[in-house]
Amino acid sequence: MGHRTPLYEEHVKAGARMVDFGGWDMPLHYGSQVAEHHAVRQQAGIFDVSHMRAVEVRGADARAYLRYMLANDVDKLGTPGKALYGCLLNEQGGVLDDLIVYFLAPDWFRLVVNAGPAEGDIAWLRAHAGRFGVDIAPRPDLAMIAVQGPRADEAASRVLGEAHATLARLKPFHGAFIGDTFLARTGYTGEAGFEILIDAREAPGLWRRFTDHGVVPAGLGARDTLRLEAGMNLYGHDMDATVSPLESGLAWTVSLAAEREFIGRSALLRQRAQGVTRRLTGLLLRAPGVVRDGQDLQGPWGRGTVTSGSFSPSLARGIGLVRVPAAAADGDACELIGRSGQVLDARLVTPPFVRQGRALIDL
């Protein structure tokens, strides 16, 4: 038995199929992951993401510390409440985790990290915290709920009452406190919506208020196809400690400006000077079928590998994220090697595939 989130009982009552994810018992789906996917693209869905770990970084030098720890530069965060996506790297430039950092006060930042790498992240963060005099404090007392979809705000206006006015004012990648509860316009689906960090004891009641207002519980299955359509990487699949952000479609999250030293910077500069040999992009299957993690592909530029593969419910086609030689261009035709060795016609495409309910690639 794995760890249970504060919403475990809600999932069981709703008939969820529970699976292990990063050491946690999590809902895969509540009957149909495809129906849940469509609910998020067209209406609104609610996800339990309490397996992700909130970690507080506190201290007068919290900003300087995070500028040293993260490949993205928290100096981009000027106003309290603003969020930034970035990677934690090792000295070799490999990705230890990807995370969101919220700037809450000059001496207070909050990180949200992935479930699987969380313990390693916390040890890594603490190992470097000493000389900055910052305190690293995980928050297992917080639950995290994501409400996503074009009607997420409409549901929030009914569930949150007056507090909804605060949410309504938030721009993308901004958050704000309502009492001790933190709301932010972030997510992992490519739809409008928000995420809520709330006291674990209050989470089941909030969950039920959203579902009572017609917001559809959605599991990890739908979360995976939604993020894949939205072209968002999944840690452990699309990047890990053996690859750099430059090889993982995450160069936009790396700030290499001259004056800032950070862990992994010299390795990334070396890699860039020598030439990045691989890159991450999208794959669209032209034949009927499903793309699977680990499948090989073959193009005029050599071989590639599927890092995340699935079936896109929105496009009704097999799609994936793939790591290919740097010479491979989006638009190139290639062949996916099926599980019994058969060859399937495919094409490289620039992610995202779908956002805001709309297809962004030509089929």
């Binding site: 199929r17 149909s32 495809v34 299955g221 196809t225 009927p288 499903v290 699935s310 599980r339």
Partner: protein, 129 residues
Amino acid sequence: MSKVPGDLRYTKSHEWVREEGALVVVGITDHAQDLMGDMVFVELPKPGTRLDAGKECAVVESVKAASDVYAPVAGEVTAVNEALASAPETLNTDPYGNGWLFKVKPADPGAAHTLLDASAYETLLASET
């Protein structure tokens, strides 16, 4: 609990067969579709294909996984369920009815009777969980 209709025969690999005159209709069980989740793609044999009992002859793919379907009996494929190409989710909603996969003229007319009956299949399911 998965549905296991009493009038069908079953395989250990979770196919069902129903006798229909001289033919047998083949599908996958409610338990199989439930384990796999939302079906999105079905690859069926061509009519006229000769099947060997126990050999893979079709593929069903869900969002989560791909799975081979094994021929419950030896014989010749006489018809396939073309409607599944555009509506694979029928395998989830009606696995014993409109979700049938293909029909076979068995080489041995009594072959279906060598398969598991409903109570034997239920015992198998109980032992797997």
